[in-house]
Subunit: 600 residues, 2 copies
């Protein structure tokens, strides 16, 4: 990377993933993407890059330092966001992947997603108003009535209104089974909504004229638990006559988040005056199933948030390490010699390469998962669609939690490289460290992702998804061997997969025998193991493509050598952990599960 | 732990370490400690506990939210600190371990250190004014002239003045060889000091009438590098006639630290007007050697900061997990049943037990290291003193960096357990997470600690310290076997030691062959491996004592069972990592060291 201003995300790496690793141009052969080619992808990417670097990034620090304020019952958003949030609409980010008939561009999710990484890295909060709106509008597009599509979705996709997802309630937290928000059928076909929601991102602001909350609630008489949850579109202002009237949606308070400062997280109160109308989306009691569409998209988005937040910090610390001089090499301590740049110290290079391996590993997993979303929706062949859906479902918990957990470590390394300066708010890395911490919590904690992976995804359809992953890994290993990549790396990744597969059978058998607790006890260890493996697969693939590229494009040698070194790092440092983690899961140590509350 | 207010640090655990694990009462048989017994230790501990809980802890959040302000060239400290910082002096914290003839109580370092943990957990910044003063005054006590002891040290020990350590300069960072501050001999026997220092904690404030900066500088004509550094006492106000006059020490600016908000970190400028006088401490050009006394004490103190910061957060998340209800057990999902406390979920218990293992493991290492400081100074037998000094030196990099690195993870788990609430500044865990991050940076970064351990400590005197550790570990393993602790645990810790020792020989041989880079390449991995081993040794010891205690004190069963479970956790989860880390160090993977700057 050239020194200079922070690139946020590496163009060369994104192009490498799109065109060399994933060959996304092949999507253009499908009817759905027939208006696209590398040229249209490039235009979209370029506009996102430019906006992120020139417009968004300069607003990041002012946004972090000057969050929206709660005044007179409303959230007031400070100036720079009033400029850049509406400004971003023109890029087409809200409905980039949606069909032309709803105003979208029918771009592949993989292209739009990687373009959004620049915007997230530039100003995460600013982007996420649109990210949330996209998910909410897509729910209406998929399951809503024509009236809702016309009145609500259209205005959300065109940026006139924003959207939120309103799931969490103060008493229930992650336990959606305990949602209490009530919906009472009214004579006009709508429902009267009454209840309280918390941690609603973008739940109020003065950036647009209206906000639509995609809200989970219970219709009177519905079954208890998750089977009695319905989905409603609840606008802050409702259409009445020619205008909009207040819909009894109150902002009851703001949570003082430690990061994502530009995007308020709110307590909302619906129906305090008995006059809050909600429009049912889809069928009664199927709300959670619908919401999973948004949650699954949101999980990939959170993964992208995490990778982007780690990326911008990585480049900041890389630039710092290239320019800040300090100390001398281990073997040349003569104080008369000038000090060297930090990057000359092996341990600083270790921290930088670890960041690179995490950041680029995360983007590779996210790009691969996103490509599966495109294939699952648009591949002409049904078997290919089914296969892609299984792989996407399998990868989603990894794509969500790996950037959050490893990204947090990566962000801490960016602080560490900055030394005492990194510990100050005069420098940016500490702000990104704060931003990153949310990603292991929202949209399903890491613990919840681990239960989704082990309890559902790897055992679904008799382990079909795991077999697909195995096939992918073996194909990549063969390609790497053919490209001249160190055969030990291919062996190691294949062996790690075999260990994971054998462990999965062992744990699955415990579940079949009725001991779900033993099966799930080490689910987070399992998720970490699985993440290391999946990222190892992606690094092996990148190494294969880099080795091929070295022969074809010698002028790009620096880039490919860096890829091979990062892959080497992953094989040497992370892949060997799979064995240790697998043994840990298999032994099933009961120290914590057997720990009684009184013993702490 | 009983629910209720946060205990900051567990009394039962501290008493366990002092009296059951380390038997510190035996120190009272030495002449130096002859005025002490468990009663006097208890009184000192009790006053620290009470002050920490009743007075300090309520000021933590106000201090975090309302840091000192830079106004008219001075730092102005807000109210609560004006009350509690001087209030703490009466506990005797500044010179608790110092001799009676300088006003101290001659308490063991291990007792005073564990008492200070309560104060650090209560309000880290408030305590550290005194921690820094103690280290600075001790330097004058050890190396200063009678005049300096009378005029400076005495006032620092009695709390009238405070002290700082002024090492770091803006251009030099961790590289003390590049210190530029100049000292010019003057006719009056003092020196004229000129230079700039940065990150000076407590470098200015309005809590006391004066501040003495123990400052590293170069006397004109001194050799380049670390061999030309001298130590000076440079007061903000200097004694002249009957009063104090300004000594040309200016506060040039404040660093906006992200934690430790009550303790300002400053840029100081000495001698802008050519009238800054410094008093030489000890001999010229020996400053760094002297400063190492303070730095070594400070490293143990930083370890204690880290353990305390992890401790208070652990208890906060434990209480939260005991009281907050959410969700249902894996095997009882009936939504008609009431939700259970978070602690009933296995993964929450995993996070809590991991915190407990880290916090109590860190305190055990710190207590053991501190006891060595007492033995090294006061054991009647010279061989015992030498042995203790070697062990203390060996343990110091672990005692400094383990609480910082693992503590940061532990603090992040406390945030995670609080879920979305943990991500808000309405709750305390996020503040402790910020506080913790400094501990891997100041007083020698984790990278510097790793070079100290591998490059100096384990190879010193032909590996003498490592052999002592081996003897200690074998003795503990035998004791644990005799107490009926699972023999596999003793085997595992002994085996981990053998792996570490064999690796050390291998790496040492590389160094002897002249390949220092290969020897030191994985020094941070080595430090992590060594830390896991040392903490494993301490957990095995605690398990042995707990197993013995179970037979003797059945009423304390809950406490001992918890100790055994935490030990089990460490054996199952961390000790197996030693093998993997040792293999990593031995393989000597050169991915990062071979990475060229242009390849990133």
């Amino acid at each position: 990377m050239a020194t200079g201003s922070n690139p946020l995300v590496s163009d060369r790496n994104i192009d490498f993933l799109l065109y060399e690793v994933l060959d996304v141009e092949r999507l253009c052969a499908y009817p759905w993407f027939s208006d696209h080619d590398r040229g249209t992808f490039g235009l979209y990417l370029q506009s996102a890059r430019r906006f992120a670097r020139d417009v968004l990034f300069p607003t990041y620090k002012p946004t972090d330092e000057n969050p929206p304020e709660f005044r007179d019952g409303r959230m007031h958003v400070p100036e720079p966001l009033h400029r850049v949030v509406p400004g971003m609409v023109d890029l087409g980010v809200i409905n980039a992947t949606r069909p032309a008939d709803v105003g979208g561009q029918q771009l592949p999710v993989v292209v739009a997603g990687l373009a959004s990484a620049y915007l997230m890295a530039g100003n995460l909060s600013a982007y996420c108003y649109h990210g949330l709106t996209a998910g909410a509008a897509h729910l209406i597009e998929a399951f809503g009535s024509d009236w809702l599509r016309q009145e609500f979705m259209r205005r959300m996709y065109d940026g006139t209104w924003t959207g939120t997802m309103a799931l969490t309630e103060p008493q229930a937290g992650s336990s959606l089974a305990d949602i209490k928000t009530r919906a009472t059928p009214a004579a006009d076909g709508t429902y009267r909504i009454q209840g309280s929601k918390i941690f609603i991102s973008g739940g109020d602001h003065d950036l647009t004229e209206n906000i639509v909350h995609l809200t989970l609630g219970r219709i009177e008489g519905a079954p208890a638990g998750v089977k009695g949850i319905s989905l409603f579109a609840v606008p802050r202002l409702r259409p009445e006559g020619d205008g909009l009237v207040f819909n009894d949606v109150h902002t009851a308070g703001a949570v003082h988040k430690i990061g994502w400062k530009g995007l308020p997280s709110l307590v909302l109160s619906f129906g305090e005056e008995g006059d809050c109308r909600g429009w049912l989306v889809g069928e009664p009691n199927r709300g959670l199933a619908y919401m999973f569409q948004m949650m699954n998209e949101a999980r990939i988005m959170v993964g992208m948030n995490g990778a982007s937040t780690a990326s911008v910090a990585y480049y900041e610390s890389l630039q710092y390490a290239q320019t800040r001089t300090q100390g001398r090499p281990l073997t040349a301590k003569d104080p008369a010699q000038p000090p060297v740049p930090l990057i000359e110290h092996a341990d600083v290079r270790r921290m930088l390469l670890r960041q690179k391996a995490i950041v680029e590993g995360a983007f590779a997993v996210l790009a691969t998962a996103s490509l599966q979303a495109d294939l699952a929706a648009h591949a002409p062949d049904e078997a290919a669609r089914v296969r892609a859906r299984l792989l996407l479902d399998l990868l989603t918990p990894v794509a969500k939690s790996f950037p959050a957990e490893f990204g947090f470590e990566s962000n801490a390394l960016a602080v560490q490289i900055h030394g005492g300066y990194g510990y100050s708010s005069e420098y940016l890395p500490e702000a990104w460290l704060r931003d990153q911490k949310l990603n292991s919590i929202h949209e399903g904690t890491t613990g919840i992702q681990s239960m989704d992976l082990l309890g559902r995804k790897v055992v679904a359809e008799g382990g079909a998804a795991l077999r697909i992953l195995g096939d992918e890994i073996r194909a990549v290993a063969a390609r790497a061997r053919a490209a001249g990549v160190d055969a030990a790396w291919s062996d190691a990744v294949e062996h790690a997969f075999d260990e994971a597969a054998s462990l999965t059978m062992h744990l699955g058998a415990l579940g079949m025998q009725g001991d779900a607790e033993a099966m799930m006890r080490h689910s987070v260890d399992y998720l970490m193991l699985f993440s290391v493996l999946v990222v190892g697969w992606q690094w092996l693939l990148q190494a294969a493509v880099a080795a091929e590229g070295l022969k074809l494009r010698a002028h790009d040698e620096d880039f490919y050598r860096g890829k091979l070194k990062a892959a080497q790092y992953w094989m040497a440092t992370e892949i060997p952990r799979v064995r240790e983690l697998a043994e840990r899961c298999r032994r099933g140590d009961d120290s914590f599960s057997g720990m009684r509350p009184a013993w702490f």
